[in-house]
């Protein structure tokens, strides 16, 4: 029976050797690749910016593009540039994107991977000036098991065909989380999605309504106050009512309204106190809402409001 232990020792020794070898290889490869990628990224960014500033239609030459990992560096550089800017002329970028073969490259990478790695390739595609054919290529990822893959497939389709934004978001099967809403709104801020808030906030679809509330909050649209109050009074226990209250707070609208008071009364103690703290942070005074939520919460709210002040006269 010592043989069982000896076999286990042989197995464990092989595992140790393999893991140790993997560590050594990874350290060597990662170190060199990290240095090379940093250098290439700076070079490619410089070339792209010069191309954007020049007025010719010629596609610039990117050195070492055929080497392993260089296309990925170029895709990341372009995506980072697009994410950080507004109103870029996409013509030169589209030419670079097509000439470097980035679309088939990223689709191939997405096909060969799973989970967060696949989602990352789709995320890059959504920020790059891909053509309309990419929407059909990523449609199959709409039913992927991984939520991030499903979401970034939606983002790719939104970027490829912004005119279908309402239909695509309305048909998205999962309720959009705050993170996903912020990603869509950032796409909107870059001018990619031409959507207005009114059809969204009045829509019966939960995702579209959420997006409408996020847009109202993000762009400070005070005219939507009545819409938000209506949502707060209609959605008495769900997320939408809560989001509407936070949007009203962010817009610094009066919180002593009947709809707000009623909705706050239906919240749990923890939720109510979280909203009160948010109101204190936004600068509401102690007299912001009288005593609608009971005398027990007023001292709690006042303690936070007063902590932003200093008594000059005792």
């Amino acid at each position: 029976m010592t043989r069982i232990v000896m076999l286990y020792c042989a197995f464990a020794a092989c595992v140790v050797v393999l893991l140790s070898g993997a560590v050594v290889v990874r350290r060597l490869v990662d170190g060199r690749r990290h240095r090379r990628d940093a250098l290439l990224s700076r070079q490619y960014l410089h070339i792209v910016i010069l191309s954007l500033m020049s007025e010719t239609d010629t596609v610039p030459h990117f050195p070492r593009l055929e080497s392993a990992g260089a296309r990925m560096v170029l895709a990341e550089t372009l995506a980072r540039l697009v994410s950080s800017t507004y109103g870029l002329d996409l013509g030169p970028l589209r030419r670079i994107f097509r000439d470097a073969g980035l679309q088939p490259f990223l689709l191939r990478c997405a096909r060969r991977t799973r989970g967060c790695r696949r989602a990352r390739y789709l995320s890059l595609l959504s920020r790059l000036p891909a053509d309309a054919a990419v929407a059909a290529a990523v449609e199959r990822y709409g039913s992927d098991r991984h939520r991030a893959v499903r979401f970034y497939a939606l983002m790719v389709r939104l970027a490829a065909d912004p005119s279908m934004a309402l239909q695509l978001i309305g048909a998205y099967p999962d309720p959009l989380s705050a993170f996903e809403l912020s990603e869509i709104v950032s796409m909107l801020r870059r001018g990619v999605l031409p959507v207005a808030y009114e059809p969204l906030i009045e829509s019966p679809n939960r995702n579209l309504r959420s997006l409408g509330i996020a847009i109202v909050r993000q762009f400070g649209i005070e005219e939507a106050e009545e819409n938000l109050l209506r949502i707060a009074s209609e959605d008495t226990t769900g997320e939408l009512g809560r989001e509407a209250l936070y949007a009203l707070c962010a817009l610094r609208r009066p919180m002593a309204r009947r709809e707000v008071v009623r909705r706050m009364g239906l919240m749990s103690r923890a939720e109510r106190r979280a909203l009160l703290r948010c109101m204190a942070l936004e600068g509401y005074s102690e007299t912001a809402f009288g005593s609608p939520v009971g005398d027990e919460e007023t001292p709690y709210f006042e303690s936070f409001v007063l902590s932003y002040k200093r008594c000059l006269v005792c």
């Binding site: 232990v5 286990y8 990341e76 991030a148 309720p175 989380s177 705050a178 001292p299 932003y308």
Partner: protein, 302 residues
């Protein structure tokens, strides 16, 4: 050893190896997720659902450490620093002067009773509006954190012990993780990788009576999340640690060879299991890019 005993022995060792591999896979998957989320900007500029994080710090070293705490881009973030003005008058005065702090009204919420608090300070300068300083007589880190929770305004609190620093993208990554789920679904986020992290919902900390030993147990399992990424690190990582690790690895290899040569297969099996766990941990370390950056930074500082 009896045959059944040997089988149980090998099975136990194999279970340890399997556990190490499961942890390794989780760390590799977490590294992929972190890479995906590091490129997103929407959440970090916006904080759409209002969820914020208050970092509670006990025993900061001085002005530089406070400045480092404030060097966070996430909009809904504050640093609540607890300092003892009697025990460390110079550090307290330096922080007061540097960040233009004035004492404000201190009327704590009825959340957690805090003793020994002498005052609360906020900055007159808008650029330091995210700094809150609590002047409190030091008794223990736990008491400091409990006092800090009383003035923390955001929904989640992250206690930082003395000598622990946040790694880059710590707050942003945690905020993104919280925003992936509906409000109230997560009350505890922890990570065993690097220095242990414990991000707690403010209300959960208050309901548990503070940062006592029952805090984690009081939170339902369905509301706990475990991440396998490094978020915190020691302020002064030991320079000798890599040397010690290499020394330990060589010693382990020598022991394995010696026990195998001597025919002590059971001991050899235990040592080899340790070696598998160590090799898996070393591989996991290569997956964490911030670890690499932190190591490079510590080498430069030395």
């Amino acid at each position: 050893m009896l045959a059944a005993g040997q089988i149980v022995f090998v099975a136990a060792l194999a279970a340890v190896v399997a556990g190490a591999f499961v942890a390794l896979v989780r760390i590799v998957c977490a590294a992929d997720k972190r890479l995906l989320l590091a490129e997103t900007r929407g959440m970090l500029c916006d904080a759409p659902d209002g969820r914020g994080i208050s970092v509670l710090c006990s025993g900061v070293a001085g002005v530089e450490e406070v400045r480092r705490l404030l060097d966070e881009g996430y909009p809904r973030y504050e640093a609540v620093v607890v300092l003892d003005s009697v025990r460390r008058p110079e550090a307290f005065a330096a922080v007061l002067a540097e960040f233009h702090l004035i004492d404000v009204n201190y009327d704590p919420a009825d959340d957690l009773p805090a003793e020994g608090v002498r005052g609360l300070y906020r900055s007159r300068k808008r650029c330091y509006r995210r700094l809150v300083v609590v002047d409190k007589a030091f008794t223990s880190c736990r008491a400091d954190f409990d006092a800090a929770v009383g003035v923390a305004i955001y929904d989640y609190v992250l206690p930082l012990r003395p000598g622990i620093r946040m790694m880059p993208f710590c707050i942003g990554r945690l905020a993104i993780e919280l925003s992936l789920e509906p409000a109230g679904a997560v009350e505890l986020v922890r990570s065993p990788v690097g220095e242990p992290l414990l991000l707690v919902a403010r209300e959960a900390a208050v309901a548990a009576g503070g940062f006592g030993p029952d805090l984690v147990r009081s939170i339902p399992r369905s509301r706990r999340r475990t991440l396998y990424e490094p978020f915190l690190r020691a302020a002064k990582p030991s320079v000798r640690r890599p040397v010690l690790r290499r020394g330990a690895a060589l010693l382990l290899a020598a022991c394995i060879a010696a026990t195998a040569a001597a025919g002590w297969w059971e001991v050899c099996a235990v040592l080899l299991t340790l070696a598998v766990v160590a090799a898996a941990a070393e591989y996991a370390r290569t997956c964490a890019p911030e670890e690499r950056t932190a190591r490079a930074a510590s080498r430069k500082s030395v």
